[in-house]
Point group: C2
Chain length 422, copies 2
């Protein structure tokens, strides 16, 4: 009997054309990152439940899919029912990001890794979010991280590798916005935001794109983070138009500007003279674990970010019991793959052999083998009455040419290929 | 504080060298299968729990990892405790094979696929097995399937593509053992095995490698499948040494031999004259869903199978509500990747730039960019006192050459590279 056969809610099947596009993008990304000295690793899709819920995943922890213990007894179930704690029945969970697994991986394998470890992770993550357009419950993240380098060279290697990757994907001309969490702290201090409200104040400022200067000022006032909202709105207005002139010696630097952090950002800008790097003192980036530089990359023709990252010097230490500097950049694979044009010259010539049922199998296979050996991709198609419909279909599938094999005809050499045009 | 940081039980992290080897193997496999006309697809790692437990997964169903419903209430927990049914708390599960998802995928997307659909699936599956050497709870399966072709051309395309893939991986010279479930049914009928015991009798015969002719004969007798064990042992002895002479016209074919099935096998053999194809009437293959041809591929120098598959004409119909012929072949990715030698010429030249901390970052990046542009993979390494140890380490990581960048030295052109030899 026919059943409901859709994939689980918020998750996707990939048909051949889409899968090919994704694999092409992955190949380009892997190749460029590897050339830039990054090494790909892989971790299991599951981590211990306690590790996923250790406070390093922010809001994503609530979205983790929990994997049930095997062999649960009625007593286990009764005990969970009594406590109301469903999570007590889970020992594993699906990862919701690649950063928690990376921290765990690094702690496990540090002795086998170079002193500065540059990792690539390209892998799916799972979040039980309310499905909506462009947001999925299984999606691929694409992270590079530099672990063990406290100098700005880490940020520079991340940024240059990312720009090169986006270039190779046909997304040249991206703009990088940068900031530093220390500068944000200076701004919050200048507004008199108490320490215990700073994390929430940052979350509010992060909504600037959505709720605007007025909205942020109001929300900060409601939080009790600032006493009056008028000055903050004016200050925010000024910050949104800030750029590198802030401390160029022509005008005195503002009191809130952390000089050391700003000098680091200037050094980053100067080391990448060909990149379009903008200073944005209102850039926050969501995660609570960032400690220094933060950055976000966008394409001027697109209304959304293509990726971002930053320095998170205290996180790896959580699993290792020892501080290790770290810095990462994640590009939005699902967004990028939608923008990608796969060039025709990036794939082999694809040909269709149309045959009627009475051509001997060994003959078909011999012709196919010869074409495969010469570098073609070959599909056999049984002849149907409506040949035009068949050819239209294989043309839509991306095939370049076809030939007809008849039972009577001579060997492969005499096959006449005709080009298919889309 | 340092924590337990191992991956979950029975699951593995892949460090850079191993990950590179796996990606290399995947690239080869994808390339050859695609050339042979197969199309890669992808499905979510989770399927609906009811679908995973619909009786199509055999013993693997019991090994499925269950994913808990989100937002379980104390009432839900109490109700599961009352019934003792833990699975009532799960709505999803991790797939334990790629065949159940393929059947579901085909039912969902049939209208968008060609009449004969040749799929590639290369993806992880999960089974909560007792971990042991060479057996993991997360491992990659690598399946090709031909859906919609009832003719032996399906088997032939699977076998030729698989042989070509193993050749390309450096595993030339494999032997294919084939059989047909109809022939096994003939053998069981000749022994008088009642219909309701046939599935269990096949499971017993499948243990021939492990428990031998005597063991199988005893177990069949214990099952009550055969009345005396002596004749069966003799018959099995004869079957294990059977080959293509069974119906060559010189001797009369045995009464149990299904003539139509045997003719199909002969046709397969004759259509692949260059392959080593052996007839083995005792070959069973585990899964209950096989209906016709079954095959297994092995390398003469290895004591284990490298893959196998067969025809399963009634399974796709379970989700579609309509019969569709299908045939598949799965190669043992985890075994194959262990055998693989990655040739040096398969990867780009890898160079290390050793620098001291006072080389300006923009200078280092410019040299790196130039080397990357010329096709090299480049890693920066900060100079340490013991340069020999550093060079030994990067040599072990597979790097080919190094150069030292000093703060005083001239531009990139003057860099002197020295080869590293392992």
């Amino acid at each position: 009997m026919a059943q409901n056969v859709t994939p689980p809610r918020g998750m996707r099947d990939f048909l051949p054309a889409e899968k090919a596009r994704r694999e092409h993008a992955l190949g380009v990304i892997r190749g460029v990152y590897a050339a830039h000295g990054f090494d790909e690793i892989e971790t299991p899709v599951m981590e211990d439940s306690s590790r996923l819920h250790a406070g390093l995943g922010g809001d994503n922890e609530k979205l983790a899919f929990a994997v049930m213990k095997r062999g649960l007894t009625p007593d286990d179930l009764a005990s969970a029912a009594a406590s109301g704690d469903a999570l007590a029945l889970a020992d594993l969970g699906l990862r919701y990001d690649l950063t928690v697994p990376l921290a765990r991986f690094y702690a496990t394998h540090r002795a086998a890794l170079p002193p500065v470890f540059r990792s690539i992770q390209i892998a799916p993550v799972w979040r039980a979010e309310r499905p909506q357009k462009g947001r999925y419950r299984q999606f691929v993240q694409c992270d590079i991280d530099v672990i063990g380098d406290a100098t700005p060279l880490a940020e520079l290697e991340l940024l240059t590798a990312t720009v090169a990757t986006l270039d190779a994907l046909g997304l040249a001309g991206c703009t990088i916005r940068i900031n530093d969490r220390r500068i944000l702290q200076g701004i919050l201090a200048s507004w008199g935001v108490p320490d215990d409200l700073r994390e929430r104040a940052l979350i509010t400022i992060d909504k600037l794109d959505k709720i605007g200067v007025g909205g942020v000022a109001n929300e900060l006032a409601e939080l009790g983070a600032v006493t009056a909202d008028a000055d903050v709105a004016t200050a925010l207005e000024g910050l949104t138009s800030a750029d590198w002139h802030l401390a160029d010696g022509v005008v005195p630097p503002p009191a809130w500007l952390d000089g050391a952090a700003y000098a680091d950002l200037l050094a980053l800008r100067d080391a990448m003279p060909e990149a379009a790097i903008e200073f944005d003192p209102t850039l926050v980036r969501g995660m609570g674990y960032y400690t220094g530089t933060i950055f976000e990359i966008a394409h001027p023709e697109l209304g959304y970010s293509l990726g971002g990252g930053g320095r998170y010097d205290h996180m790896i230490g959580r699993f290792l019991g020892q501080e290790v500097p770290a810095c990462g950049f994640s590009i939005g694979f699902e967004r990028i793959v939608d923008l990608l044009e796969v060039r025709d010259d990036a794939r082999p010539r694809a040909v269709v052999l149309v045959h009627d049922g009475n051509v001997p199998a060994e003959r078909l296979l011999a012709i196919k083998a010869e074409l495969v050996a010469s570098g073609s991709r070959v599909r056999l198609e049984r002849r149907v009455k409506n040949l035009r419909a068949l050819l239209d279909r294989v043309t839509a599938d991306g095939f370049d040419a076809f030939a007809t094999v008849n039972a009577e005809a001579n060997g492969a050499a005499s096959l006449e290929f005709r080009e298919l045009t889309a």
